[in-house]
Point group: C2
Chain length 174, copies 2
C-alpha cells in the first residue's frame, strides 16, 4: 500500500527514461501497488493530440501530464511520468502542484543518446527533418535538485532502479 | 468504499449537468468516498486547451475526458464528468472503455435551457456570435439507453439525486 506519489522521469530523448519507467512499472506491479504510467506514447495518443513543439505547446503538454498525475497521486496511486520535459519551471510547477514528487533525471551525454538513437530521431534532427529537437536546436534545462540522478551511460539499469527505490523509501513514500 | 465508477452527465447547455454534478460531488464527499470531478471549467483549463468546436475537436475532447475518467475509475475513484458530449458514438466509446459507466441524461427542452441561459450563451448563439452551438446550429444526439434520465424541467434536484443514487445502487457500484 502506498499513499501515492509521482515518479517523474526527465531527460533527453534516448537517455533511458522509458527503459527505467517500464522497469519501475513492473517493480510496482509485482508489489501489487496501484500504478499508472504516462509515457510518450500514452500522452501523444490520449492527451496531447493537436499540440506541437513550440515552448508554449510543450508547456501545455507537460502541465496536462501534471494535472493527470496529480489526480492519480492524490487518490493514492503511483503515477510514473516519462517525458523529456525540458523546461525546469514547468517541472517545478508540477512539483508544487503534486507535492509528493520524485524527480528522476536520466543524465546521459547527448553524444551517447545520439549514438543509441533508438528511434532514429537524432538522425532526422541532424538532417533538419525534425525542427525544435531537444538538445539539438531546442534547450534542455538540467534539473537543479532532482531527487535521483541516474547516469545511464555509466550505471546498469539495476543500479538505477536501486537508487530510485532508495530515494522513494528515504522520502517515506513506500 | 466504492470500487470506482464514472458518473457521466450529458445534456444541453443549461440542462442542469453542473448543478447535479456538484450536488453528487458533495454527496460522495459527505460519505468520504474518493471522488473527482471533470466538468467544463476543469476540462477547458487542464485538458482541452487548443481544441475548438468542430466535430473532430469535440470528439478528441470527450475521448480525452474518457481517458482520464478511466484512469481514475480503474483505481477505485468515482469520477464525475459533466460535459455536453453531444455525440452518442463517443459517449458509447467511453462506456466501452470504462466499463463501470453510469450515463445520466439531463433531459430538458431547449426552450427551457434557453430561457434559463445562465451563462448568456444562447443569446450569443442566436445573435450569431457563437458558431456551432449544440442545439442551435450543432446537433445533440439524445442517449438511447442512459442509466438515468433526469427531466430537470419537471423534477427537483432532490428527486434527480435520488434517481441517480437508485441507479448506482441497482448497478452495485455503491
Amino acid at each position: 500500500m502506498s499513499k501515492g506519489f509521482t515518479l517523474w522521469f526527465t531527460g533527453l530523448s534516448g537517455s533511458g527514461k522509458s527503459t527505467l519507467a517500464e522497469r519501475m512499472l513492473a517493480e510496482f506491479r509485482e508489489r501489487r501497488l496501484k500504478v499508472e504510467i504516462l509515457d510518450g506514447d500514452v500522452i501523444r495518443t490520449n492527451l496531447s493530440k493537436g499540440l506541437g513543439f513550440s515552448k508554449e505547446d510543450r508547456d501545455t503538454n507537460i502541465r496536462r501530464v501534471g494535472f493527470v498525475a496529480d489526480l492519480l497521486t492524490r487518490n493514492e496511486v503511483i503515477c510514473i511520468c516519462a517525458c523529456i520535459s525540458p523546461y525546469r519551471s514547468i517541472r517545478d510547477e508540477n512539483r508544487a502542484l503534486i507535492g509528493r514528487f520524485v524527480e528522476v533525471w536520466t543524465k546521459c551525454p547527448i553524444e551517447v543518446c545520439e549514438q543509441r538513437d533508438v528511434k532514429g530521431l537524432y538522425a532526422k534532427a541532424r538532417a533538419g527533418a525534425l525542427k525544435g529537437f531537444t538538445g539539438i536546436d531546442d534547450p534542455y534545462e538540467e534539473p537543479a535538485a532532482a531527487e535521483v540522478v541516474c547516469e545511464t551511460d555509466r550505471e546498469s539499469v539495476d543500479e538505477s532502479v536501486a537508487k530510485i527505490f532508495a530515494a522513494i523509501r528515504r522520502l517515506g513514500y513506500l
